[in-house]
Subunit: 136 residues, 2 copies
Amino acid sequence: MQLRMTNQREIILRELLESKQHLTADQLYDIVKQLMPRISLATVYRNLEILSEAGIIGKLEISGRQKRFDYDPNDHDHIYCAVCHRVDNLNVEGAGVQKENLRSVKGYSVTGYRLEIIGICPKCQAKEKNKENDNE
Amino acid sequence: MQLRMTNQREIILRELLESKQHLTADQLYDIVKQLMPRISLATVYRNLEILSEAGIIGKLEISGRQKRFDYDPNDHDHIYCAVCHRVDNLNVEGAGVQKENLRSVKGYSVTGYRLEIIGICPKCQAKEKNKENDNE
DNA sequence: CTCCGTGCAAACGATTTGCACTATG
DNA sequence: CATAGTGCAAATCGTTTGCACGGAG
């Protein structure tokens, strides 16, 4: 089962990498559709799945929300905006989890961890300030 | 808009608390249906939403598809099994995130974080050992 | 007696899949 | 050419919602 580099796969990958964002499948579909109008959403889903399976991109899963795909496949943390759901990559230095402490928590053998910082992004902070001013 | 303690709400809450687990809505539905056969899945969803809104139970939106509900509403971390998706509560002492370091990462104002430890639970470790022995 | 809560079915949004066709390697 | 990938529509999965009825306070 070898990977073929089709036109649609190439464009999907390129647009995700160039976006430098954590896009959902349908956001990426909208972008790619401009360049390749007959592409289907299913193709976008299939390729994102395959590319993340192959370790070329990353996949972000939070239950209850849409999956997002990460232009950077390497291990890192994320910060996300509670208001607009924008996601950014992050490395929490010194505050990360010390694996040694976790070797066998509650009888589990620990293989990794996922850390998400939750906050409000600069844009949404600005918007909220404007709202406050409007109310005055 | 005050809360009424209906029969179904009482049973849903009791069964979640007694389970000492992190159940999905439909797992809990299966349990409650035994005791109250005419209850609908929508009622289970509605009550879990209301109870977590009220801070009586916790809601888990960690990776994976379905939401899970937590018998413990207090702030804590989670460890989950990559094989069977079982979830346990956890407090990662000393390894947690130091909020001071995070006051304004990338321009965000930080409001919280979510930490999931990933591993393999004792039961699934045992199962994997059995498989290895079978292969020999 | 007031309305919050219920059961049911239908609606919904995100994602996946079966199928016949296309095009890569 | 063999077979991975595509477009399309329909199916699926988890969850939510509209509605008329029922029951808690």
